[in-house]
Amino acid sequence: MKKTLRVIIYVVVCLSLIVSLFSGCNNKKETAPAQTQETQKAAETKAADTKAAETASSDAMTLKLPIVQPGSVTLKIGTFDNWYAPASYASNLAIFQAIEKDTGVKINWEVSPPAQWNTQMQTRLAAGGDDLPDIICVPWGETMKWASAGTLQPLEELVDKFAPNMKKFFSEQPEVKALNYAPDGHMYKISSYVSESAYVNPWLFTIRKDWLDKLQLKVPESTDDWYNVLKAFKEKDPNGNGKADEIPYTIEGPHYLSRFAECFGLRAFYSGYQYPDASGKVIDQRLTDQFKAYLTWVNKLYKEKLLDNEFAGLDLEKKLAKVNRNIVGATGTFISNIPSFNSNLQKAGFADANYVPCIPPKGPYGNPTFEAYGPISGDFAITSVSKNKEVAIKWLDYVYASPEGIRYCMYGIEGKSYVMENGKIKLTDFTLKNPDGLGPFEALRSLGAWPNVPYQQKEEAYKAILLAPYPELSAITEKVKPYLVFGWPPILSSKEETDQLSSISADLNTYMEEMTTKFIIGTESLDKFDDFKNQVKALGVDKILAIKQAQWDRHQKALKGN
């Protein structure tokens, strides 16, 4: 009797364990009918949509509001969450409430923190399935991969039929339009437009003006000046603590160091040294004498410890830690960060600390150009499994390109973050002197403005928000503007191009990075520069250049075609 009982218990325990193992599968089966119901419902609303769409397309010049019967359609948007983390998009922020009121479209946000977004969306896309959001932010650099896998919906017809504001904007901005098109002639994505703001917040060298004054030096204007100033920082103890602990110039890693390369006439910061020469032929500038001259100069800085000898392994946090200790003479950053450099140092008791931005220094090859970020940023797409494509494109049209949408995205909510005065927009104290101590961008983002869906950045908004309290920075941006150019345009590569590029460039990039760093820190002598050039050629750089040439020509043609 007792034995049977024991057996029963064994069986029950084991069975329950097995059941719990397989319960994952069971759940799926149970929810299946619910899904079909949903699909049915979706199909019904879709039918309603198409009807609405037909009436809309007959009058294609304006976007009819509300887009749908209020509350009848819910769009799912998958993107990375607000840069101002405490205000998640999932909590239905103010501007999106307002947009919902205008458009009638409910939004269901599927967001994750920015740092995890890429991996999370990659995984979701790789898993496939039909529960993807309607609108997604495509993982960085993977637009064509997912487009060729059929995951993304071609948008050109939708834009043509349903998005009058977008159409108008694209006809005014042929480059933006051209860059949205894939080599197969379809438009799979829409990107945020950032070129106007690129001029407001450039990445510049910044230097301790108070140290310069102390040593009676001027803000350096050429690479020779820079050498002399950094040397003086090293030798003359400008922070006055009696120790030679100054780091004249520090920077977070080899990439950011390459701003100096641009002073030698190279296109480094965003183009990665591969850019067409004057005749339109794409070359790798790392094979030129200019690059050698740059390496020689930086190697001199490194040897004399004018360049932080730890730069190769630094990241932003480690650099800021050094800056905050009052030992860094000069570094580089987006100018919007400079006020915080100064205020942090002043809080730490260095009352005179004063970083100022510098005009791009003149090198041995004449005036430099500095590359700016743009003209577009971020790829957003409608998924091909979406059941509400027309609604999605109309919603995007409203947010991205309509005057009201632009105002929401730039300035937030009228009466809260801005007011209208004589027909002009004026930011309120909520934005500029936020009672909770938020910075202006944080305050706007807490309402959902400056969002992570496609939008247009406007120069006047950027200036009003960012530089209003700092007229001297604003003045510098005007002076720097003539030096700024856009880097290699983000032309979409076809799948074949991507495959070829990735198989060649893996080894090539490793080699280039490694050798460049070694030349700079002197573990490899610059006498071997010719060997370096030969090896780069042996690794197949010409094939990469040929692909990029084809892309460049394609882009030029697309620009002319518009």
Partner: protein, 320 residues
């Protein structure tokens, strides 16, 4: 031991019956054990064996989003791509060197530490030492590398401050290739030796105390007891663990290396897993990544088989 005896009895009893009947009888006799085993077997099938099916993408041009069965068969293309990389030799060399040196230094230390702890009297002191020694195991590797950056910094890292106080030149540890392996392995040992010693301490506690008493009566001193009783007592554990770690000699995790390396130390720090990470994940060439991973596993498995075979021949201790 017990199971072996039982099985023996079972066989002798079932001598004159057919194998099928025998099997049935054994199943009925061990039904409880077999039932208890089912969840474990299911776990391995579902989470370890079924996913192996995914290895097929190493032989295909996998298209993400279309499932594992999508894409063209390309045979060994991705393997050749890896073998033809100019860095293939360097990657294998770096991986093996980091592993071998790590094993050479890292393997004996927990054993010695366990032996030393074993010689201590039980009490607060021993327990405190043991706890302190295994605490670093719980520190995230990110934090460990951050600590190394602080301690070894050129400007005011404590190590360089000492070097300068004694008249030396400060050393740029993180940008000098020759220090990379030492830093990597030493920090690994610091973090893991206490934790790894736990298994040896467990093995030590299972040695029959009568052996020590007998040795004491025979006049053995502490050293002799350690050589002749303690070490032979834990030798099977040592050998099994050695075989297992030899079986992972081609895999060096990428997390810590990625935190520690930069282009100036690639020549010693770039290993197979970091290269695969840069190319397979960052460059999203999943098929290529799968091919390299598969290549790695095959080599690891072969090594494991070889060492297991030798161990069986030489010491009759083996995994199976």
């Amino acid at each position: 031991m017990q199971a072996g005896l039982d099985a023996g009895v079972g066989i002798s009893r079932a001598k004159d019956k057919t194998p099928l009947v025998k099997l049935k009888k054994n199943i009925i006799r061990d039904r409880a054990l077999l039932l208890i085993m089912i969840p474990v077997v299911a776990y391995f099938i579902i989470f370890c064996y079924l996913p192996m099916y995914g290895v097929i993408i190493a032989f295909k041009d996998f298209i993400p989003g279309k499932g594992l069965t999508s894409g063209e068969w390309v045979g060994l293309k991705h393997f050749y791509m890896f073998f033809n990389s100019i860095y293939f030799g360097r990657l294998v060399r770096n991986t093996v060197l980091i592993s071998v040196y790590g094993l050479l230094w890292g393997f004996p230390i927990p054993i010695m530490f366990a032996l030393m702890l074993n010689e201590l009297k039980d009490g607060l002191y021993k327990r405190a030492i043991q706890t302190i020694s295994y605490l670093p195991h719980f520190i995230s590797v990110v934090v460990v590398v951050g600590m190394m950056y602080n301690f070894l910094s050129v400007q005011d890292g404590i190590v360089n401050v000492f070097i300068e106080k004694f008249g030396g030149m400060s050393i740029n540890f993180f940008n000098t290739p020759k220090y990379f392996r030492t830093m990597y392995i030493a920090s690994g040992i610091w973090q893991e030796f206490g934790w790894s010693s736990i298994i040896y301490l467990a093995a030590l506690s299972s040695i029959d105390p009568q052996l020590y008493e007998a040795a004491k009566i025979d006049g053995a001193n502490r050293w002799q007891k350690m050589i002749h009783i303690t070490i032979p007592g834990i030798l099977p554990t040592i050998i099994i663990l050695l075989i297992l770690s030899l079986g992972s000699i081609m895999s060096v995790g990428f997390e810590k290396i990625i935190l520690m390396y930069n282009p100036s130390t690639y020549e010693v720090s770039d290993v197979i897993s970091t290269y695969t990470y840069r190319r397979g994940i960052l460059g999203s060439s999943y098929s290529f990544g799968a091919a390299v991973g598969f290549f790695n596993s095959v080599i690891n498995f072969t090594l494991l088989l070889i060492f297991n075979y030798f161990s069986k021949k030489v010491s009759s201790i083996s995994l199976w």
